[in-house]
């Protein structure tokens, strides 16, 4: 076997083939079959005299006809980033960072030390808009294409949610350093609201869930805390285990009901 695979086309056969000379049909067929599989003989074919000149002419013509530089190759990193957060989500992600930055600003300016830390108060709701933008038809123009794709479902939603957290966690950490708030105390409620939005979102839609939870938090915690200048008991360090439980419960609900992320909501369709 090895001897037959080692055999290559002879120079005179190649030359005759290139010149278009008459060679027996079966020899021609065998040669073409061999050329298909043998890079070495194809390379030899390309430098056989009449063909070599012809190829050179073709190349010259192509390089004359090809105007301008080749298309720019976009960065691999950008391409990878887009698989985590679609462009439509970015603006909403930045909003969370802006809210956090504004809270830091107010905390720093308000040096009296009596009012509760605004960073701590807004941390749970800061990521909500980013999470809402992850899976909302009105925000994501490619939503219907995405929902019909094999990747649709929990995995894709979680990817986009992780993108939100990857941006929000450093923002909260930085805010915590500036205003002297422990990251854990503001991070766990933040995670609970993120998971809660997805869990409630499996029932009423992610955008609506974000609005409901956001408004609830503002009315039930932020406004009373600012009015009484006393931090709500919900945000005391002792409450962390309960927030942790909420994360777990919401996560479980999201996983159990994740099938809704593979279909369009049957309401609100034209």
């Amino acid at each position: 076997m090895s001897r037959t695979t080692e055999r290559h086309a002879e120079d005179d056969v190649l030359a005759a083939y290139v010149a278009g000379a008459a060679i027996p049909l079966d020899a021609e067929w065998a040669l073409e079959a061999h050329l298909e599989n043998c890079a070495r003989c194809r390379a030899r074919l390309a430098v056989t005299p009449p063909l070599a000149e012809f190829l050179a002419t073709v190349w010259t013509r192509i390089s004359a006809a090809a105007t301008g530089a080749p298309a720019p190759v976009r960065s691999r990193l950008l391409r990878a980033l887009r698989t985590w957060a679609p462009p439509s989500q970015l603006l909403w992600l930045l909003f969370g960072v802006l809210v956090t930055a504004a809270a830091v600003g107010i905390d720093v300016l308000d040096a009296t030390g009596h009012a509760p830390s605004l960073v701590l108060l807004v941390a749970p709701v800061a990521p909500l808009l980013g999470v809402a933008a992850a899976w909302t038809r009105g925000v994501d123009p490619m939503a219907e294409l995405a929902v019909a794709s094999p990747r649709a479902g929990l995995q894709l939603v979680l990817r986009r949610t992780v993108a939100v957290l990857v941006v929000m966690i450093p923002a909260l950490a930085a805010a915590g350093v500036v205003t002297d708030v422990s990251l854990a105390v503001c991070l766990v409620p933040c995670l609970a609201f993120t998971a809660g939005t997805l869990a409630l979102g499996t029932v009423v839609g992610v955008a609506r869930a974000a609005v409901v939870l956001g408004v609830l938090w503002v009315v039930a915690v932020i406004v009373p805390s600012l009015a009484t200048t006393e931090l709500s008991a919900l945000l005391a360090p002792a409450g962390l285990p309960f927030w942790g439980l909420a994360v777990a419960a919401a996560g479980a609900v999201t996983v159990l009901r994740s099938r809704v992320f593979t279909t369009l909501p049957s309401t609100n369709l034209p």
Binding site: E36, N37, A39, A71, P72, R74, R79, R82, T83, P86, P87, S88, D140, P141, M142, A143, E144, L145, A146, V147, A148, S149, P150, R151, A152, G153, L156, R259, T262, T263, L264, S266, T267, N268, L269, P270
Partner: protein
């Protein structure tokens, strides 16, 4: 190099119909837009015709598995959709162009199709070649690296068709793909449709009856969520008489069949 032929490419299909629906019911909002539809589709190009509000888009969405049927059975590529269907495996073999498809305006055509290939879980090494091939197939090669927002309506449609066929789908669903195409582009599109129909089951919903006559092997006529007629374009044309409304035989056939169905339904 010899092209490697995957075992799945040679495996015979184990199903008789690409799409098989029995008594299919699908809700769109509160309305039952598809109500008791029986449908069998095999290889070839099938034109889905019907007046506005007949349930064409809802039917296509149900076949794309983005709407869960409210009743009846639906068997797609040999897999019956049960309570917990394996949508993932099916969707890898699906091409879908929604009626109003959106895009990220800053993506180039190539990036748009590439992103869809990623969403369709194509092997990363196959993506660049497949993307280039489909962009050439729809005739957008010279605009491949232009941003989507710079394209005209017809070009956008063609980019939409490119994303639908990038994964060589076995079932291809196109909802109003010819809207915004000029006459030459529509001719080219029909040629493309015929090519695609040789290897997969293509369902094209359209308002333009003459597209169906030219490119389809089979016509599915629906009205008010029910099947009115299924047959070849020639059979539809034969159903129309000289006194029916329409400018060409197939239009006359269309109005005749629809009128007859409505008369019986009442």
């Amino acid at each position: 190099m010899v092209r490697k032929v995957a075992a799945t490419e040679l495996a015979p299909t184990t199903y008789g119909w690409h799409v098989q629906a029995d008594g299919l019911q699908v809700r769109a909002g509160r309305r039952m837009a598809v109500d008791g539809l029986d449908l069998r589709l095999g290889l070839g190009v099938h034109g889905l015709l019907g007046p506005n509000g007949a349930g064409k888009t809802t039917l296509i969405r149900a076949l794309a598995t983005v709407l869960r049927p409210a009743g009846g059975t639906l068997t797609l590529l040999g897999e019956q959709l049960g309570a917990r269907p394996d949508l993932r495996a099916f969707r890898r073999r699906l091409g879908y162009l929604p009626q109003d498809f959106g895009f990220y305006p800053r993506f180039t055509v190539r990036e748009f199709v590439e992103y869809m290939a990623w969403l369709k879980e194509m092997p990363p090494r196959d993506v660049p070649g497949a993307v280039q091939r489909t962009i050439e197939q729809v005739g957008l090669a010279d605009r491949a690296d232009d941003r989507m927002k710079t394209l005209s309506g017809g070009m956008l449609r063609r980019a939409g068709i490119a994303q639908a066929i990038v994964n060589d789908p076995d079932l291809l669903l196109l909802d109003e793909p010819t809207v915004g195409l000029d006459p030459t582009q529509r001719l080219e599109f029909r040629t493309l449709l015929r090519e695609l129909g040789e290897q997969s089951c293509v369902l094209v919903s359209t308002h333009l009856v003459e597209d169906v006559a030219a490119a389809c092997t089979n016509v599915v006529l629906v009205d008010e969520g029910r099947m009115v007629y299924q047959g070849t374009p020639a059979e539809v044309a034969a159903a129309g008489g000289a006194d029916d409304v329409g400018d060409n035989p197939i239009e006359r056939g269309y109005t005749a069949l629809l009128g007859r169905h409505r008369a019986v339904a009442r």
